[in-house]
């Protein structure tokens, strides 16, 4: 397989702010690659550099064999971009928007008309095509926003957090659309801070934090980093309880890592059932009531927790 994208040591500084500090990865032709990381990790900056919006401070990337710094126009013809925020003309209809953006990708005439019809079908808005975008619901606008990025059948589609702030139903539709597009042969670079999305979609995942790629690989490869360890979540009544319980558990041998998020104590342990018994014992000893318990097999969330000591959604 050949790489459709190859990023080499990308760096982006805004004055003193080091948004991206040397990121390298590649995307195979035909795969879905996810960049997973919390807000502010540098995902959007990375995707902006790759879509030729910002010139990198240093480093380069080849997209479809073209350099993003030296051949931006060729790169733009290869990629389709779905920006995080809506970028549409709300006064225009869905059809007029698609028509305009299609022309910006150099399409025209019969082929453009045909393609608009296909895309409208794909995003499920064929019957609303002549309505102004401003009359659409949030989910419908998102779908138009994605449709614009598909018009010219890009070989590589950049999707920057396309599911932020929408209802579960629309989110499901978007995820299915991404898988569908990928089956048709489109490579996808997908950024998200939802572990589940990355897990569901991707062949490979890059985990990014503070502008650095802290882990990269297929999901099994990544979860192996946490080994066979399991995640044990103990839900307690109050925050103070969580802190107290965490303190109490630090002395317990066999617990590899302890962290707290408001009403939870999260433990990474080799054997969850075993740890649970001792945790309940300690809780009773200090008078903390455990409300519920959750045991998770190794996953990306755990990988992130393992690597950074923080939860993804902090």
């Amino acid at each position: 397989m050949t790489a459709i994208l190859e990023a080499r040591n990308l760096v982006k500084h805004y004055g003193d702010v080091k948004a991206v500090q040397g990121i390298s990865f590649h995307i195979e032709d035909g795969e879905i690659f996810s960049l997973l990381g919390p807000n502010g990790a540098g995902k959007s900056t990375t995707i902006s550099m790759l879509s030729t919006l910002y010139a990198p401070t240093s480093g380069d990337a080849l997209v479809g064999g073209h350099s993003i710094t030296r051949q931006p126009m060729q790169v733009r013809a290869v990629i389709g971009v779905v920006p995080q925020d809506l970028a549409l003309y709300e006064d225009l209809t869905a059809h007029e928007n698609l028509n305009f953006w299609g022309q910006m990708y150099g399409m025209s005439g019969q082929s453009l008309r045909r393609r608009i019809a296909e895309v409208l079908d794909q995003i499920g808005l064929a019957d609303k095509a002549t309505k102004a975008v401003k009359t659409f619901s949030g989910g419908m606008k998102r779908r138009v926003n994605i449709g614009v990025g598909l018009l010219h059948k890009p070989r590589l589609l950049f999707m920057d957090e396309p599911t932020v702030g929408i209802d579960p139903q629309s989110r499901r539709a978007i995820l299915d659309m991404v898988k569908d597009l990928n089956r048709q042969g489109m490579s996808v670079l997908y950024t998200t801070h939802y572990m589940e999305e990355a897990a569901e979609l991707s062949n490979r995942v890059g985990i990014i934090d503070h502008g650095r790629m802290i882990a990269l690989g297929t999901q099994p490869e990544l979860t192996q980093q946490v080994g066979q360890d399991e995640t044990l979540r103990l839900h307690v009544a109050a925050e103070a309880d969580a802190a107290a319980l965490a303190d109490a558990l630090r002395a317990v041998p066999g617990i590899k890592q302890i962290s707290t998020t408001d009403h939870e104590v999260v433990l990474i342990v080799p054997e969850a059932e075993e740890a649970l018994a001792s945790a309940v014992g300690h809780a009773n000893a200090i008078g903390v009531k455990i409300r519920s318990v959750d045991i998770q097999e190794p996953n990306l969330e755990a990988v992130f927790l393992h690597l950074t000591g923080r939860a993804l959604r902090d």
Binding site: Q74, V81, M104
Partner: protein, 398 residues
């Protein structure tokens, strides 16, 4: 090229998506041109300025003066008793009040000049026009009196009159003859205005038609700056940069769209000037087209440069309204540029509005052809090139 047209078409759709845009596109310009051009003066309506007249003399001379005033094409005499006239004047219902005092008669000539009293509202052009009309009429009535008076004096130098009656008769005869001679006197002044074979009728409405055209086209073209702010705010400008489209293509497309809209608007306004106000816009269509295109390009380029400074749509619309009005005013679009002090007049040469106005007046008032407006069109094209270059150079996507 196709992309430029696509951008232009999209901008047109967006601009007219809100129907209130039509207000600024055509309705207000027409209303302003119309009102400032003096409005309609249909034949059956007396558009003359109302002049209140109080006649306290009641003499034949006073009657003669009134008759002469009534024939004036500037004022309409409204004869009233003093109390009523003063009340109306104090309520500012009339621009001027003329009082013919008691004793206004030829007999009083021997004791010196005759006097009329004119009261005017302050700072009022109509009052000034009324004054000019009264002065002209008084001068005309007075000149045969003066001649008769002088003629009597000549006779008296040679031989005193036998009686007051004889003197009065001599005076009347002389006055009669003088009045006849003055009436027969040829017009010794020919006023001409343009060198063309087919002379242009001077019409003050031309100033208003040209000035309003420039103003109302200029402001929305400066508003181009708001369009860029809008695209930035919407995120569409960012998206555009991820498509294989050059910056200059985008700018050219935006300019093309607004200039095309401006050309349609100008055509409508010119049509209104030609067919409704009867102005001679149509005599040099090629020259007019060259000038208007050059002007629209200059204004659009200025708007592009402005677009690199403003951050929000609100700023853009405020700034383009402010700059547009100030530049139109100083460019002589609202009042003839001659009214400005010399130094200001020289300074306004840096404004595209001043050049556009001069070019338009060359066409509509001076009847000049393409060669006559090449300088103006050239300067405007220069503005366009300079500001477009500046705009492209300074333009940032965010």
């Amino acid at each position: 090229m196709r992309k430029i047209l696509a951008i232009a078409w999209k901008d047109g759709l967006i601009r007219f998506a809100s129907r209130s845009e039509l207000l600024f596109f055509i309705i207000l310009p027409l209303v302003f041109t119309f009102i400032l051009g003096g409005g309609f003066n249909p034949g059956d309506v007396d558009a003359r300025i109302r002049l209140l007249v109080v006649d306290e003399a009641g003499t034949p001379l006073a009657a003669e003066l009134r008759t002469a005033l009534e024939r004036s094409d500037a004022v309409r005499v409204d004869l009233l008793p003093r109390a009523e006239a003063e009340a109306q004047f104090d309520d500012r219902n009339a621009a001027a009040l003329l009082i013919i005092p008691a004793g206004f008669d030829t007999a009083a000539l021997t004791t010196g000049a005759l006097e009329l009293e004119l009261r005017q509202q302050p700072n009022n052009l109509n009052a000034q026009a009324a004054e000019r009309a009264v002065l002209a009429v008084a001068g005309r009535v007075g000149q045969s009196l003066a001649v008769a008076e002088a003629s009597v004096a000549e006779a008296e130098r040679r031989q005193p009159f036998a009686s007051a009656g004889a003197r009065a008769d001599y005076f009347d005869a002389a006055r009669q003859q003088a009045a006849t001679l003055f009436a027969e006197a040829p017009d010794r002044l020919a006023v001409r205005r343009a060198l063309t074979a087919d002379p242009v009728d001077y019409d003050p409405a031309a100033n208003s038609s040209a000035g309003q055209l420039i103003t109302w086209v200029f402001i929305p073209l400066l508003g181009l700056s708001g369009l860029y702010a809008f695209e930035r705010q919407q995120g569409t400008l960012r998206r555009l940069l991820t498509t294989p489209t050059e910056k200059a293509t985008f700018l050219l497309g935006s300019i093309t769209g607004q200039v095309a809209v401006a050309l349609v608007q100008m055509t409508l306004l010119i049509g209104f000037g030609t067919w409704v106000m009867g102005l001679s816009w149509g005599r040099e269509p090629v020259a007019l087209a060259v000038l208007l295109v050059a002007f629209a390009l200059a204004a659009a380029a200025l708007g592009t440069t402005l677009g690199t400074f403003v951050k929000t749509e609100g700023q853009a619309s405020g700034l383009s309204m402010l700059l547009g009005m100030a530049m139109a005013l100083l460019g002589g679009c609202w009042y003839p540029i001659e009214l400005f002090p010399e130094a200001v007049r020289t300074a306004t040469k840096v404004l595209p509005t001043a050049w556009a106005m001069q070019g338009l007046l060359d066409l509509v008032l001076r009847g000049q052809a393409v060669s006559g407006i090449l300088l103006e069109a050239g300067v405007l094209a220069g503005f366009a090139v300079v500001f477009f270059t500046l705009g492209v150079w300074r333009f940032r996507y965010e």
